[in-house]
């Protein structure tokens, strides 16, 4: 099992989830993706979209300022 980090704090919808999906597509089942994203739209939508498309959201936490971390298992 590997853990990969992805920073989408500079991206806007829908590229936030596009970039997340592209990273997830490179992982094996059971691998972990740690996504750094901004609060607001990305924080609302990324965990929701990930769940809808069959991924497991393990944790959502505040990092600093407007930045949050979402942990997704493929």
């Amino acid at each position: 099992m590997t853990t990969v980090k992805l920073d989408i704090t500079a991206e806007h919808c829908p590229m936030t989830f596009v970039k997340t999906k592209i990273q997830l597509s490179k992982l094996q089942s059971g691998d972990i993706l740690e996504v750094l994203l901004m609060e607001g739209e990305p924080l609302q939508n990324i965990p929701k979209s990930a769940r809808e498309q069959g991924f497991k959201v393990l944790d959502v936490s505040h990092v600093e300022g407007q930045v949050h971390k979402v942990i997704i298992e493929k």
Binding site: P14, M15, F17, V18, K19, K21, I22, G54
Partner: protein, 268 residues
């Protein structure tokens, strides 16, 4: 394959789809599709497949662009009149999406070249305007075990069916071309330009579904519509065990060029 940043942007709306995603877009990018006829149906098919990023698009057509084509053949523009249709189409595809490799055949599809040309492709689209070549495409695809989309339009009506090896073929349903001059061509009867787009985009969607493996293809179902009433119907059709080309004991073992339906008006 790894998509570039530009490709990620370009195909983002496909990648977002759960059923397509990165893997589906890779299948589209690896796809090789032959479009027979760069006319009313071939134009939207070519544009949408190019936009979708189909890796290789072959286009075969022996005609040049005529002013009377522009009412519905939206891949050709006014300055293209008198240019070969395949070249005109290739230029637009290259401008729309430089990722696409375009192979042009400025010739008619015939019994002697059909198998050689279609064997290079994963899927074939019938965008032609006459019965003899529609039966030729069907027979060649059945013999070569190539999936294809049949499409036809006239006046306000359109019909389409997708054929993959083992499903009902065009000949299972329609048996043989009508006698020459029994059925009018578009140039005699006319056609509402927009229905070329309606039917061609259905065919393009079938190609993308086939390449990605998403959904249920329009197999064993003939879709017809009439644009005056905007009624769409799907008619269940069955594989015919006595079909001349795909039945239990096929009687057609070689391709034939049927007599072309002749028309008083110059074929456009």
């Amino acid at each position: 394959m790894d998509f570039t940043e530009d490709q990620i942007q370009r195909y983002s709306r496909h990648i977002l789809l759960q059923d397509v995603g990165v893997e589906g877009q890779e299948k589209i990018s690896n796809g090789k599709v032959l479009i027979i006829g760069a006319g009313g149906l071939g134009a939207p098919v070519a544009l949408y497949l190019a936009a979708a990023g189909v890796g290789t698009i072959g286009i075969i057509d022996g005609d040049v662009v005529d002013l009377s084509n522009l009412q519905r053949q939206v891949i050709h523009f006014t300055p293209d009149v008198n240019k070969s249709k395949v070249l005109s189409a290739k230029e637009k595809i290259n401008q729309l999406n430089p990722d696409v490799k375009v192979i042009t055949y400025h010739q008619l599809l015939t019994a002697s070249n059909a198998l050689e040309i279609i064997k290079e492709y994963d899927f074939v689209v019938d965008g032609t305007d006459n019965f003899p070549v529609k039966f030729l495409i069907n027979d060649a695809c059945v013999m070569a075990k190539k999936p294809f989309s049949h499409g036809g339009i006239l006046r306000f009506d359109g019909q389409t069916i997708t054929v993959v090896p083992g499903t009902a073929c065009y000949r299972c349903v329609f048996h043989a071309p009508p006698p020459p001059n029994a059925v009018p061509t578009c140039s005699q009867a006319g056609v509402l330009g927009a229905i070329a787009g309606m039917l061609g985009t259905i065919q393009a969607a079938e190609v993308l579904k086939y390449l990605t493996g998403v959904g249920d293809l329009l197999t064993n179902r003939l879709l017809t519509f009439n644009a005056k009433t905007m009624d769409f119907r799907t008619i269940k059709v069955k594989h015919n065990s006595s079909c001349q080309v795909c039945g239990t004991h096929p009687t057609l073992s070689e391709l034939v060029d049927y007599e072309q339906a002749t028309c008083e008006i110059k074929q456009k």
